[in-house]
């Protein structure tokens, strides 16, 4: 998450916005964001429908799997990676997408 925060100005340059989504409640997310000095939005999805939609809700578990998804301005998923975010790979992809005119 700190990696995304460090890269906010670069995301801005490539016309991208970052959102975090988790199953935690809003109060927990508020404290989490404060502890890491995060300024981008964190979305609370307690009912888990987003996790189910993105196939990252392990059955019987109260948390999402970790996945990075880039969605372009038409709503098409253009990039998916599981596990810890590869920030350099994400930036290179966003740069390429921005050059193509397919703003995230």
């Amino acid at each position: 998450m700190e990696g995304h925060q460090r890269n906010l100005s670069l995301y801005e340059r490539f016309n991208a916005r970052v959102l975090g989504v988790s199953r935690d409640d809003t109060i927990t997310l508020k404290y989490f964001a404060k502890s890491l000095d995060l300024t981008f939005p964190l979305l609370s999805n307690v009912t888990a429908f987003l996790g189910v939609s993105f196939y990252i809700q392990p059955e019987g578990q109260p948390i999402f799997g970790r996945r990075t998804v880039v969605i372009d301005k038409k709503g098409i998923i253009r990039y998916v990676r599981d596990g810890s975010p590869d920030y350099k790979d994400i930036l290179l992809f966003l740069k390429k997408l921005n050059q193509e005119g397919g703003r995230p």
Partner: protein
Amino acid sequence: MKRKELTILCLVLVVAWLSGCATTETTQKPYRLSQQGTVIWEDEFEFMPPPPDWKLLRVEASENDINFGFMRQDPGGYPSITTFAYDEEPFGCGTKFEQREKEFFKRFLFNAIIQFQILERKKVQVVGGEGLAVTVEGKDPIKKEKVRAKVVFGKRGDRVVGFYITQWRTMDGIYDLSAFEIFDKFVTSFKFLKKSFYETL
């Protein structure tokens, strides 16, 4: 006949497997020595290495992991150890040193659950520009351990990078400040040989 074919197939598989192992054995080192005695690390950094009793420490780079560093087992047994490292992405997000310092110390050695006392904070010259050096000491009264650490923040392009040394001792142990002098030489000698990924993006 079938049995012979099976044996040959097994041999091929074993040979293929062994040659796979050999490939990993011949992995190239990420560094080379210059004629001046400095280390050139992946053609990206240059620095003066510590004496040979320091072991190279390398963690695969990912979120908040160090890039590389050195460690030395000190006399006196556990927890007497000194480690120093260069970190391309130190804890925190701020691009101003004072802000980054606050963010960094919220999480530095957070597994140890210790409170730091600042011993010294001063502006320094590092990697060709202004930086901030902070020396701290932390104590863990439960485990009866203490740690002395120095963190030096510098800039690479717009981003803050960090160097840090930690020296752990038992509560009544004595710090070896010569290790901090070796760390200072490492930091002072440190140079970037090319622009970072972020500067070329």
